[in-house]
Amino acid sequence: MDFFHDATPGWYALAILLLPLAGFCWNAFTYRTEFTRKRGHIVPLLTIGAALFCALTIFKHAVLDEELGDPAIAHAGAGHAAAHGADPGGAHGGAAATDAAAKPAHGALADPRWNWSSKDHGLVYEIIRSGAFRIEAGISIDHLTATMLVVVTLVAFLVHLYSSSYMHGDKRFSRFFAFLQLFSFSMLGLILTDNLLLLFCFWELVGLCSYFLIGFWFEKDDPPRASMKAFMTNRFGDVGFLIGIMLVYRMFGTTDLGEIYAAMQAVAEGRAEIPPLYGWEAGTLLTVAGLCLFMGPMAKSAQVPLHVWLPDAMAGPTPVSALIHAATMVAAGVYMVGRIYFFFTPTVLAFIAGIGTVTALLAATIGLVHNNIKKVLAYSTCSQLGYMMLSLGVGGYSAGLFHLYTHAFFKACLFLGAGSVIHAVHTEDMREMGGLKSKLPVTYRTMLIATLALGGVPFFSGAFSKELIVEHALMWGWSHGIAHMLPALVAIGGGGLTFFYMMRLIYLTFYGAPRDQHKFEHAHESPAPMTIPLLVLAFLSIFSVGWPIPVWGGHTLPQLLAAPPALASIALGHGGDHGHGNLALVLAVLVISCAVIWAGYRLYQRTYKERNPGPEVWVARLKPLHHTVSNLYWFDEFYRATLLRFSFATARVLALVDQKGIDAIVNGVGALGQVIGRGFAAFDRIVVDGLVNVWATLSHALARKLRRLQTGNLQDYLAFAVGGMALVTLFFLFLA
């Protein structure tokens, strides 16, 4: 029980953070050695394994043993807010809110999360102090952190193991593992940090690693282009994120999440208010800052309209797709929204719900028609991330984050399975597969389990999180009016679409007759390092929720991931909660979901199994729709015609300005300098050198004469001496 009473968790967390960094350094600095070149996976596997152990320790104490306490009961004076409010607030910016926050924060609005902060135990590192501006790095652990740590380290460990076989023989084998380690470090830092600005730094680092890994095979055509696209699209969102951070800093004078919470709590309890800024009232200000902050997750979690990079990112190696572009990095956006959830006003939440709804629907429809196995999965990821955002937006905080948790395992399983298939048949096009069920039995079974989990079939992990999402969407729609039922409709209908396109993927890959006999005959099951992660993840696709006893030591995981008080809504005079689910609703949702999934399955059966009518008929019947969807709704074309064209035109104009304007100035200055320099050179040559030379010539000539006097004859010297004496004498006698 004592685990969280002293600084121990901080050291565990620090080990989790620094081990992958050490692994990265090891691989980066010893890459010339034979050991690292041939066996570059060993050290990374050890470090990530150790990190996994530490993460499981924290998870056990925090979640399984519930040593962090029950979040459903708002603790009075819960550690973090009080401890940080007590910080002498003199260094803060001008906002009145921080002064109020200096009082101990108790009561119903106290933060139920952030139960353990390293700052309470002296584990804090001051990175910057410059006047009133300071950044202190600390580590905060709550149920969400503990859960995310396990998800990231576990998936990362399995992907490391998988890659040791999948990437075998690649000429940049050790570099691949170095990047994986760097990514793990960045992602874990993103999870552990308690400062918005540091979160942003790690956010950029994971983006950078994503860029490196998408473009890992940079000799090919697609990967460099895809990595550039991913990087640029993310910059687009990150600008908004950064502006949001600046706004938050202007409002509260801090970027520390705990202090922001304390300040917001003071506002919500009416003890302080946010002074107007740029002529905006507090409500507008919170909404604008929230929208700006949401720009970051929108790009990182591939939400429409910034989703275009994610499918292209599949150009990277498949383990990377599983780790970064399915389980962890893209989920970082969802995690970040969860982290600052208290900050979002109802308007922002509605916007998040809207974006999530559109993403969930559009991505799912594209998944129906794509023929590239990895891209179908990428659009599926996109769609599921939309689900998570939708859930967060409609107030389903725990549901969204729970879906993030379950989704990480089954989607990683699907990607690694797809990698195994690609490994076997050396193509990503599903039209060249088919009938692989007998050739790849382990891959087939694990992928089928993960598909059922993704489809939300009852008793699989995905069902639990998806039904929670649907419940919340329904409650939200119920309490907000008929137009707000759309997210709920999409959440329900999307389940059918999801199951349909996933069964289509399974059918095209594993069932029916082989469409490419040559590839079929050469296919073989992957070796153990690749199948073991598949089996583990398939196991987790069912049992990660604790099934068959969906109980974590008395509380389900969603209960432990309780939402923080909706401070921004309360501050603006809106109600915090919008009702709770009851058994009737749960049963209704269960029945509806099952029905929709069954409908999706029936559609699949009729279309692919019975061919009554077959997919070709559907394509012919819905030609305009199919055309639109299979062209990915012309998002790329739209960007190419507008943003890219604008950007290129601007670049061209700027280049012209550079060449004609700036270069002319620079050249002119250069020419002027040359002229002045020539003048100075002439002065130097004629005047200065002349003077020196004249002097030298004179003394030379004089010396030529004077040296004659030095005859060497003693008597001459004596005569000079006497003569000189006589002259001196005469001078004194007659002239002085």
């Binding site: 040296r707 030095q710 060497g712 004859n713 008597q715 004596l718 005569a719």
Partner: protein
């Protein structure tokens, strides 16, 4: 012979003759003899002025020092002359001119 002028005149004559001897003679022995003349001219002046300025003994003392100095000088100088003769088989003082231009 009691007047100072006579002694001063004699001293001056001896000094001038000594310098003339040193500058013009080629033989090193003559040069040395010139130097002796100069020294003794100085000594004569000392004695004469001492006598003239009230029979004081300090002038006499200087004269005796000069005699001792002259003896030492002669010894050293003759040594140098011997060395010159050893080096150049001659005692012509215009021969050793290697310090010259």
């Amino acid at each position: 012979m009691e007047s100072l002028a006579g002694y001063v005149f004699l001293g001056t004559a001896m000094f001038v003759l000594g310098v003339f001897t040193m500058v013009t003679r080629k033989n090193a022995i003559y040069v040395l003899m010139g130097a002796e003349l100069i020294l003794n001219a100085a000594a004569l002046n000392f004695v004469a002025f001492a006598r003239h300025l009230g029979n004081r003994l300090d002038g006499q003392m200087f004269a005796i020092f000069i005699v001792i100095l002259a003896a030492a000088e002669a010894a050293v100088a003759l040594g140098i002359v011997l060395q010159i003769h050893h080096h150049y088989p001659s005692i012509d003082v215009s021969k050793p001119d290697r310090l010259g231009d």
